[in-house]
């Protein structure tokens, strides 16, 4: 019998607490596989956020640190600066990174902090029960935008990847999605590039991952993936936004 797939040892055997159909599980696997393929488990430290991925330390089979809400890039900086040989990544959602932690992520990029950030954009606060995020689309209904997000009242959604790509210290910035097999393959490639960027000491790297939240969007998993495709990707275009890693 030929083994065609097996779970990476960089994921523990703990059962994921994520809702059925949630994209976090996919992204966890991609990150873990990349760590495995790069052979960096023994020098990697994961920084997990406050949000749905708060229990990330149970799943990533690496030394892990739970950070305060939005502060993972600052805590990651502290870890990286005490030993530049460590591989440090943050895994953050859109409430954590784009709202309360906006200053920390901007300045981690600004310093050219040699860390890797995996940023899950699912256009909503998941863990707290479906409130509006800075990434919530115009017109999207959430528990704190019950009539749909009104741009006159609270602005239009923020495009983190494009914003961070303008910062000198960022070296690799990409946006990917996990709504189809092709996009998942592309996502893994980007995540690997973002880790490689750190290993090569090039600068700050971030991969924004468009993901779904069937529970708080009030959809089935299949519907949510279609909604992501039809509504999120047009507003949040996929692709590599910046890559200075190839420059000599």
């Amino acid at each position: 019998m030929t083994t065609v797939f097996k779970k990476t040892p960089i994921l523990t055997d703990a059962i994921l607490h994520y809702c059925p159909g949630c994209g976090h599980g996919i992204v966890h696997r991609l990150v873990a596989e990349v760590i495995d393929e790069l052979g960096i488990q023994n020098r990697t430290v994961a920084l997990v956020p406050v949000g749905c991925a708060v229990f990330g330390y149970k799943y990533f089979n690496v030394d892990s640190v739970e950070a305060a809400h939005g502060r993972a890039p600052a805590a990651a900086t502290g870890i990286k600066r005490t030993d530049p040989n460590r591989v440090v990544f943050t895994y953050q959602g859109d409430g954590d990174l784009a709202s309360i932690g906006a200053a920390e992520i901007v300045h981690a990029a600004h310093r050219g902090e040699k860390i890797t950030t995996i940023f899950i954009n699912n256009a909503i606060y998941g863990m707290t029960g479906g409130q509006m995020a800075p990434t919530t689309l115009v017109g999207q209904k959430t528990t704190t935008s019950p009539y749909g997000r009104d741009e006159k009242h609270c602005g239009k959604p923020i495009r983190i990847a494009e914003m961070l790509a303008t910062i000198e210290g960022s070296a690799y910035i990409a946006r990917v999605a996990v709504n189809s097999p092709a996009n998942i393959i592309a996502a893994k490639k980007a995540i690997k590039a973002a880790f490689q960027c750190q290993l090569d000491g090039k600068g700050f790297a971030l991969v924004e991952v468009l993901s779904n939240c069937p529970t708080n969007w009030g959809m089935s998993p299949v519907e949510s993936m279609e909604w992501l495709e039809q509504n999120m990707i047009p507003y949040y275009p996929l692709g590599v936004k910046k890559d200075t890693t190839k420059e000599v």
């Binding site: 502290g78 920390e104 600004h110």
Partner: protein, 355 residues
């Protein structure tokens, strides 16, 4: 080693480096900028890292990260900045991480002043952030003592896996005094096996998880029981006070930091006039030196205590809790940044003793 004339803030920074602290994360605020400035110049020379953070919030979280990786690390600030650090302090306490935070206290509330104050006593000794925790809080009253206490602060933080704070004031930070950097006795410190440094599954140690989240009631209870048990040991073993002319005194002044030094001058004035006044100067304000103060207050000669502070009366609550109604406890001082003179203190004491 020869004595050196040094500004308090710079002496504190040098002492930290000599205590093995090679990582500093901070943000500018008056009156403590000499600490980050000194660190920015010195740390690269010793192979360490100084980083100016984008905010106090980021600075304390960088400290959190470095501490999580097992490094000796510190930050410094002054009152408004220390308020911003309280979230991080609570996480450090909850994750059982050692670090040192220096607060060169200035007047408040709000933006307040840049002159010295003791208005942050409650914040420092009651925890300051959310949840049931205390940092160890050391309150120097001279530049030399600040230097010596830096070593203690790092060691105690490591031994008890807790943040420690140096609670000084603008005067300690800004004045120049002769200091001596002598060798400090090396304490036996626990190995930081819990540190997140990168894990090799073949290493034999368990995977490190630095965390303050315990979603199950029983698990959170375990953390809190562990913290409270540790705090009980700290209260028992680490409370420190200086007793000055307390034997046979009729009135006891209780004061800490710079103010305690002014009180000593007041006592000199009072003794010349025949008054018997002593001073209990807490060196640790958390743990508060209850035993030391109680023993002094239990002397039959002592009629009352007067607490002197640059505050509206904060430490006086600990003095009253300690004395527990057995003798009167008065308060002398003003909130804000007004530092009383020795004459003003002596005058108050004389009136109080004649009353």
């Amino acid at each position: 080693m020869a004595k050196k004339l040094m500004k308090g803030s710079e002496a504190v920074a040098e002492a930290a480096i000599q205590a093995g602290c090679h990582y500093f994360f901070g943000y500018p605020i008056t009156p403590q900028n000499d600490i980050p400035e000194y660190m920015a110049a010195r740390l690269p020379q010793v192979g360490g890292c100084f980083l100016q953070a984008e905010s106090e919030v980021a600075a304390i979280n960088m400290v959190y990260g470095a501490a999580a990786a097992g490094a000796r690390v510190m930050t410094s600030s002054s009152s408004p900045g220390v308020s911003l650090k309280q979230e991080g302090m609570s996480y450090l306490a909850g994750a059982e991480l050692p670090c040192v935070v220096v607060n060169m206290v200035r007047g408040g509330p709000g933006l307040g002043s840049i002159q010295p104050s003791q208005g942050d006593y409650f914040q420092a000794t009651r925890g300051g952030g959310h949840g049931d925790y205390h940092p160890i809080v050391l309150a120097p009253s001279s530049v030399q003592e600040a230097v010596d206490l830096m070593h203690d602060a790092f060691d105690l933080a490591d031994i008890y896996r807790t943040p420690a704070m140096i609670l000084a004031d603008g005067i300690i930070g800004q004045m120049m005094e002769p200091v001596e950097f002598h060798e400090h006795a090396k304490r036996e410190l626990p190995a930081k096996e819990w540190a997140a440094t990168g894990w090799d599954p073949k290493s034999g140690r368990p995977r490190a998880i630095v965390n303050s989240l315990y979603i199950e009631v029983d698990e959170l209870q375990e953390l809190n029981d562990r913290l409270q048990a540790r705090y009980a040991v700290i209260r028992e073993k680490e409370a420190r006070a200086e007793l000055y002319h307390t034997e046979g005194a009729e009135l006891i002044i209780c004061a800490y930091g710079t103010v305690a030094r002014i009180c000593k001058s007041a006592i000199t004035l009072l003794e010349k006039k025949g008054y018997k006044v002593g001073l209990v100067r807490p060196i640790t304000v958390w743990p508060f030196p209850e035993k030391q103060l109680r023993e002094v207050m239990d002397q039959p000669s002592v009629k009352k205590a007067v607490t002197v502070e640059i505050s509206a009366g904060q430490m006086v609550e600990d003095v009253r809790l300690t004395v527990n109604g057995t003798k009167p406890v008065e308060f002398f001082g003003k909130p804000g940044s007004y530092t009383p003179t020795a004459e003003e203190i002596a005058e108050y004491i004389m009136k109080s003793m004649e009353a």
